[in-house]
Symmetry: C2
Subunit: 695 residues, 2 copies
């Protein structure tokens, strides 16, 4: 059986390399596309430079954080260095750093590719929707392939070398702690710029979106890159790694046939990447085709290919089980269903968006109230979906023996995240074509080109809703299986300390209950801090934009040669978001540590559950309500309920402004927050066992 | 020991009668106050009639619901009538009806007293703040004393007669199911009217609040009565009964010395009422005194008196324990702390309100974003408070023996709710003086009188925040102890069925987890349905107001003798809210039943916990954010950040409009929703044991 395992390690590396090669091919293809328009090139350069400035400053701060964390890990984890063996501590610290570096690399790659594709997609739009779509999509695919390839090769190689899956917790924590700050920082940056640009440009001055007179317009485009592309890349890299790590740790602790279960996790992960490669390679759009359909159909192709591939693997390989295949397939299908439900609440061809647009006719208060309400309702299907897939995954695998039940949940998460390569491609497509639209406007490419870019952008928004539902669902399942990982890690420590092991976390135990309530409050506080960060920053930037419009002569009128000071705005967004990112990121980590040292493992178990439950609820609520408001605004702008400039439009714009930090700062960051908390808990479990006040 | 129990039954009845007598005295005192102004009398009559019309129509619908529920109880509960003994079923059904009727009576009394006090308080304000305060406060006190007296005498007499505390579940369910619908219906009514009146009057036409030209102005005042007074009375009646019922059921199942524990619950409850009587009797305000301080200091007097009384009782009576006293005192003190924390986030002399007012200068989106953020953060202290008091209550009482630990949590809830008589008095004071302000305006009592009425009203708003924090905290603790009740009821059924008993609800059990996720989604869906109800209704009413202003000649200009059609607005609010109340109320009940019949007792245990956690989070968030927006608006209106008519003011009004259904419809209704769900679960536990699909 050990030879089977070696086979899969090798295959993981092979498929990852294949993904890299395919990404390189697509990268060269994109690069080959023409970029002739001087203005677009100039602006694209400004955007690229802005993004690089922000990311360099951000990574400098995060490098300090990561070094401190690595040092702490070296001394204390998995067990204090003076007690355990030093090799394990070194392995953990090194894999932490690898995780953190790969996460940063994922972000950098995203920005590089996006800044390459956006201008080219804009120019391609002059020739029609087909070439413009392909440039945007292939740019996104480079990102998707590289991120998933890095995750797969990283996990496989670390495990191959050290052999002990629990070291992957360090790798995963490196990825997720960086993702937490990258999402928080990038999320604050992007929405600071977006909200300020909209408020001053669209609302006050009535100039179009992406008008080059607006001093915040470059910062807004930079934000799309550092928030949506880099942040999202780091986020999904982290979820993907966490899902694999959790499944692998559980697989290793399973009694009997552990090699087969470990092989299965590796096999399912590599087949997911392979399926994504095929899905990406076969993505097509007709000459006047619908980009939404093109994106969705490649998702379905990937799903079907994955299911067939894993079924074949189950037939072929010794020790593979149909039950595991069932759990993984359930996860994937439920992911698709969650995506469709999200789509129902946020797509502007469906009734909900129309209702919110209609409510806007009575004023902004009704836009907000109806959006909040439907946002809350929209959380229900996903919550049910996650609950049902956990229940099914658990029960399908329970008959396989002790410990397999929770492993079934982990495999449902792996299944849901299997097609993450495809998901990231679709997700990265969004900000690329969003940027392309802006560049088409600024480059003066004409009405028709802007219309095409608009259509591509709108498809990006719609698909984003689906992929967001997917990634929240997967994060939900992953952290549930991480709860299992936490219990198994805590039990190792309890056995070592000669104490009674945990058999579960009883809701009737007030220590658990104590943890649940605190855990449930954290995502609320965390997201509030992020939103307040955007709020504070945007107020500063609005003041700066007003200053520029008042002091730079001829700017307001668009006099030739008069340019706003774009850099000041980029600087405000950068400085502000870097100031806000550390406190918001730390609050969740510190709360976990405090609860653990006060209440011990039982309190932490409750804490994780409370955190998962309220985190899922709030992140679904915020992401969906934000998407809903965004599309309601677009629906009104398309000429409904009074169209542009009407009272309904003003109200819809206010709704969209509220929704922006909901859907692009707080909502998706909560995802990362719950993963980080789960990993911190698992990592520190032995310390909680030794040093808690009450337990 | 049985004689001791009889003594306490008798004392309960005695103290309840004392409370009734004191209420009668205060009622007569209020009635004796002069009411001379003809306009005020007319308007007060309109309000009274409107309130009665609504409540009569509402109670007719609820009577049908209650009869059906009573019939179902008669047939199925506590066990199917063909299996168990018929007497228990009859007792359960009858006590259900008593609970429902007393809840309706509590609502009716509230409206009666409020409609008597509001006009008199307005007229008294001509003589100064002192007499006006006293009329408002004593009017509220009548309500407080009667509601708590009814709860105490109801619980004591039912238990005295039937002897089996679990029959109290029927009584409590009667109270809470009615409260659920009354809160939902009244909450939708009041905010429909309030929001419509504000939007058309203040925002569009720029006429003052309570201007008699506004067709919705009477409906708005009716709403204060049916929503805030009647709904709140029913709500706190229900919480009070549920806390007593849960503690009594646990007390009866405790092994050994059961009479002493039952006596203690009764004794603590009656001493709470006694303390409230003393607090009310000693409430004073100086000639130019501060009404907020007067209200708060009587709360503190009540708290201190209660602590001393219960300490004395512990010294005096055989079998009473200092541990129980500790648990109850902890609950009470934590209640005060939660109240103070709520105050910090919603009082306009504190920084948070000022920050939100300042953010309003940048536009309504920032009002909303900052209010939502601080609302989320404000949930944290209360969540910690509840968690800590449960932990302390549990650990203080755990050494007393098996089962005492969870009883400790129940006694913390009893402690927190002990001073509910005082709380209701303060709470009912709010809408009375709010109405008084409106009547002073409509009756033309002059600037100075309106100013005094305004001051009284503002104190009402501030105190409301504190009492709301209190009641949410208490509901949280009560439902936790109801979770214990549910487990003990389910175990009775499991033993009877010869199945293995539950020892707890393990988070790692996916059936429990399944329940948690569904349970957590319910408060979100429930509150969304209520808000959408307000939204839909208000849109209808706004259309009607526009119609009247356009078609009734001279109305807009305020021509003498021209009156709007107040009744049409009242009718719209009534019909609309009655249409919305049943679906919103049923969603929670049906979800509980479905989860129970699908997943059995384990799923229900998880469901209750998910429901509690997300219910607490959302209700704290909504209540506090709403209060925060309301007071930010008032702060701007007081001349800050640009004052009335400024852009900041417009933004603050939008915030207030969003906050209205948050704080007066959805937020407080969630409280009742979680109680109802817990009671439904306990009541149906034996059916879930027998008939669930998976378990």
């Amino acid at each position: 059986m050990e030879s089977q395992l070696t086979l899969f390690y090798g295959l993981c590396v092979l498929v990852a390399v294949l993904a890299f090669a395919f990404a390189a091919y697509l990268y060269l293809w994109v690069k080959k596309q023409p970029q002739k328009n001087k203005t677009i090139e100039d602006v694209a350069t400004l955007i690229r430079n802005g993004a690089n400035t922000f990311m360099n400053r951000e990574y400098k701060i995060l490098a300090v954080f990561a070094l401190i964390a690595a040092l702490l890990i070296l001394v204390f984890l998995p067990s204090p260095i003076w007690k355990g063996n030093a090799t394990a501590n070194i392995a953990m610290a090194v894999s932490y750093i690898i995780g953190a570096v790969l996460s940063a690399v994922a972000g950098k790659i995203g920005v590089l590719v996006a800044s390459l594709s956006n201008g080219r997609s804009a120019e391609a739009a002059q020739k029609g929707i087909k070439p413009a779509f392909l440039v945007g999509f292939r740019g996104g695919a480079v990102m998707g392939l590289l991120v998933v390839g890095c995750a797969l090769i990283g996990v496989a190689v670390v495990l191959w070398i050290v052999g002990d899956a629990s070291i992957l917790l360090g790798f995963s924590f490196g990825a997720s702690s960086l993702a937490l700050f990258a999402k928080a920082g990038g999320g604050i940056f992007t929405k600071t710029a977006d909200v300020s640009a909209d408020l001053t440009g669209k609302v006050e001055l009535g100039i179009p979106e992406d008008d080059p007179r607006n001093p915040a317009v470059i910062a807004d485009n930079v934000g799309d890159n550092v928030g949506d592309v880099a942040g999202m890349g780091a986020d999904l890299f982290d979820s993907n790694v966490a899902a694999m790590a959790s499944a692998l740790i559980l697989a290793q602790t399973l009694s009997g046939g552990e090699f087969a279960t470990v092989s299965m996790v590796l096999c399912y992960s590599l087949l997911g990447l392979l399926a994504s490669i095929i899905g990406i390679a076969t993505a097509r759009i007709g000459k006047n085709g619908n980009p939404t359909n093109a994106l969705n159909s490649s998702t379905y192709v990937t799903t079907a290919v994955y299911m067939v591939f894993t079924a074949v693997a189950t037939l072929l390989f010794e020790g593979f089980s149909w039950r595991i295949w069932g759990a993984s397939t359930t996860g994937l299908l439920v992911g698709v269903i969650i995506g469709l439900a999200t789509d129902y609440f946020t797509d502007d061809s469906k009734p909900i968006v129309k209702k919110v647009a209609h409510a806007s006719k009575s004023g902004p208060a009704f836009t907000i109230l109806s959006g909040v309400s439907y946002g809350f309702i929209s959380a229900m299907p996903a919550m049910i979906g996650i609950a049902v897939s956990a229940l099914i995954g658990y029960n399908i695998c329970a008959p396989m023996g002790e410990g397999f039940a929770i492993f079934g949940i982990a495999m449902a998460a792996v299944g849901m995240l299997s097609i993450v390569g495809m998901i990231i491609s679709n997700d990265a497509y969004g900000p690329i074509v969003d940027n392309a639209r802006g560049l088409a406007e600024m480059g003066g490419l004409g009405e028709e080109t802007i219309r095409i870019a608009d259509e591509l952008d709108s498809a990006g928004n719609t698909v984003k809703a689906v992929t967001k539902g997917f990634s929240i669902g997967a994060a939900g399942l992953t952290v549930i299986s991480l709860l299992g990982t936490f219990m198994s890690e805590a039990n190792h420590a309890l056995i070592a300390a000669g104490k009674e092991v945990l058999t579960g976390f009883d809701l009737m135990n007030p220590t658990v209950f104590f943890g649940i309530l605190i855990g449930a409050a954290i995502p609320a506080v965390f997201s509030a801090m992020l939103i307040l960060g955007v709020d504070r920053n945007a107020q500063r930037m609005v003041a700066e934009i007003h200053r520029q419009f008042n002091s730079i002569k001829g700017l307001r009128e668009g006099k030739a040669g008069v340019k706003p000071d774009y850099d000041r705005c980029i600087d405000i967004a950068t400085t502000g978001s870097l100031r806000e990112l550390i406190p918001a990121g730390m609050v969740a980590i510190i709360a976990t540590v405090l609860v653990g040292f006060i209440g011990g493992p039982c309190a932490v178990g409750g804490f994780l559950m409370g955190n998962i439950v309220s985190g899922l609820l709030l992140s679904l609520f915020m992401s969906n309500a934000g998407g809903l408001w965004d599309n309601s605004k677009k629906y009104v702008e398309a000429g409904n309920e009074g169209g542009k400039g009407s009272e309904a439009h003003k109200a819809a714009v206010i709704g969209d402004t509220v929704g922006d930090p909901f859907k692009d700062t707080a909502g998706p960051s909560i995802n990362t927050q719950i993963t980080v908390v789960s990993l911190v808990a698992s990592l520190l479990s032995s310390l909680f066992v030794s040093f808690s006040i009450f337990m």
